[in-house]
Symmetry: none
Subunit: 124 residues, 4 copies
Amino acid sequence: MKSSRDHYQQIRDRLVEVIAEGVLTEGSPLPPARALAAEFGINLHTVNKAYDLLRRQGLIRLNRKTGAVVTLTVAGPPFHAEWTARARTLLAEAVARGLPADEALTICRSVLDSFAATQSEDTP
Amino acid sequence: MKSSRDHYQQIRDRLVEVIAEGVLTEGSPLPPARALAAEFGINLHTVNKAYDLLRRQGLIRLNRKTGAVVTLTVAGPPFHAEWTARARTLLAEAVARGLPADEALTICRSVLDSFAATQSEDTP
Amino acid sequence: MKSSRDHYQQIRDRLVEVIAEGVLTEGSPLPPARALAAEFGINLHTVNKAYDLLRRQGLIRLNRKTGAVVTLTVAGPPFHAEWTARARTLLAEAVARGLPADEALTICRSVLDSFAATQSEDTP
Amino acid sequence: MKSSRDHYQQIRDRLVEVIAEGVLTEGSPLPPARALAAEFGINLHTVNKAYDLLRRQGLIRLNRKTGAVVTLTVAGPPFHAEWTARARTLLAEAVARGLPADEALTICRSVLDSFAATQSEDTP
DNA sequence: GTGGTCTAGACCACA
DNA sequence: GTGGTCTAGACCACT
């Protein structure tokens, strides 16, 4: 796990990637919070915070008896706008630091392709 | 100003965008810290923190006499890798929340185009 | 059932109200724990916890054969003092949030009257 | 301070009483969270939780520069209904445990009178 | 054994 | 020096 960022956000980001890759899809159960806490050597509370964040973003559903499961709800226009703003900030940083625009775009494309590739693998 | 994020990072992000847009280029002087503090109604200390952050990232140079000026240093491979990781996280979130990959890519392209457009306007 | 409070306390509170209303009096049998569990769609264990709480507070008596029966024991000065403190907290909240004192008192009176009314109905 | 209840709720309840008594009124500054934490020998975090609870209930306003100040906003019908339900539960417990209805009402009246008394003292 | 809460201490953003 | 966050460990409610 990368360092120097909030633990709970690192976990959240990792789970979002796993969902984007299609490894986890609608209804897939997430690992019990305790399992992740043990795996990464952090406190249960921190994992719960990541799960709660995912829940508030509509990506998972939490339930005491069934555990955490993925719920793929398509986000609306508010998310669309907010995501565009974040993309703009990220891309601006690339350009400002001398990364050519076409190269940045190529990176984005290859990342998206890698998601699509793993998705089709999972559902042959 | 967007809300619910650290003020000093919002300022930093805004300045990075301005540089990406080409409004500020190599050697351009940034607004005096006091001016920004007044404009956004925040404390001078906070603006200075943003400027210091930009300095540590190699985007500007601070000088007691001349003020802050832009220094466009092309970032190396470490930045390239780190930026790719951040892009992956951002794109994963788009895909996980149901934004089609091609649409995400279109957004990125249009953002980059908007940067290029303002750049060529500024240096005809 | 009201929400966002511990299930076993909600059950306890409801049973206390039923006793206050006179629907259940000294010696009345409570519903079997299994019946309540089924009625509210909760675990038998949770109902048993509520019953045990009532037992410890001297409101009911548990017996493996006869089930749970009401035991109206008049509480002593300790309860009197503790109840007054709780009433003070509740009334303070009403006043602090702008509910006029006379209106708060009227509510209390009407609630007590409703208990007395159902009591006299039950024992004509 | 009474024992065996959540610390943060004990603090909240105490502050609500102080407001009901009129000791603190619209615009009055609350003690800094650190001061209360030191006074009661608890963690700052716990006091902050109590303050946040009061804020969500519309009783105080929090601000990094001005600290916490009382904001007497009159609560609407939802609070009225919710408060009545809580009063019903509390009064039911009194009746169920043998406290005569008229005695319970007398206690409520005397508590409310004590609030009114301190209020008129504070604003002669 | 599941998710969730309470208290805690160190640290952060802001003025 | 103000309110607020992050990580932590012990404990709770519920199954």
